[in-house]
């Protein structure tokens, strides 16, 4: 059965590639953003690390989220069509991708304001929010592999 499950039409490969590549880059960008925001307060040049976090989330995180989400919808349309019944792991993916996208947006705004107006508390809040999103995405990585339900 697992052999059968690993076989898929060639036309599914590119959407899956786009989805997984987007997710990999997104998790990497989120990890850099979280580390830079939360470590900034203890560094000698906190403004520089906060700028790095903001630019990473904006220039890498957002495009990666879009690629991951577009790829997800594309592969979903091919694999499940218009079926209204999604397995649990797909539901977990929808919840964390859309919820995480909202967290990414809020974190980006807080991070941008923190950089522009020099407010460390907002940068820390952005780091904490991104940590929650990152934990959700890591759980999703497990769900996409283990496919519960």
């Amino acid at each position: 059965l697992s052999v059968l499950a690993s076989i898929r039409p060639d036309s599914w490969n590119f959407p899956l590639f786009l989805h997984v590549l987007g997710a990999m880059v997104l998790v990497g960008a989120a990890a850099v953003g979280v580390a830079a925001e939360l470590v900034a307060g203890r560094s000698e040049d906190p403004a520089r690390l906060r700028r790095l976090a903001f630019r990473t989330l904006l220039l890498v995180g957002v495009p990666a989220w879009v690629a991951m989400r577009v790829g997800a919808e594309w592969i979903h349309s091919k694999e499940f069509g218009s079926s209204s019944e999604d397995p649990d792991w797909v539901g977990i993916g929808y919840t964390t991708s859309e919820g995480g996208g909202l967290f990414l947006l809020v974190s980006l705004v807080l991070s941008g304001v923190a950089v522009r107006r020099g407010r460390p508390a907002l940068a820390t809040a952005a780091g904490v929010i991104m940590t929650v999103a990152l934990v959700g995405w890591l759980i999703t990585v497990w769900a996409m592999g283990a496919k519960p339900g």
């Binding site: 490969n13 899956l16 590639f17 997984v20």
Partner: protein, 81 residues
Amino acid sequence: VGRCAIAAVVLWAISIETGRRGGDVYTRANTLAKELVANGNDQPSSELRALLRDRTGLILNCVSTLAVLLILIDMIWKPGA
């Protein structure tokens, strides 16, 4: 074990080793920068600039990234499976 699985393991080993060696260059730059500051030298340093612009470090990091990308392609398209 399929050929694509062996290829993935080889690519993974390449990625880890090139990433480690590429990182060494920037670790040396970090150490040098700290030494310069500890000695009261806050001026631009040609040695530090050379380390940060080291082509070998850049190439090794690019190879490491490319190997990860190839693992993903290998695992999805499974050539030879």
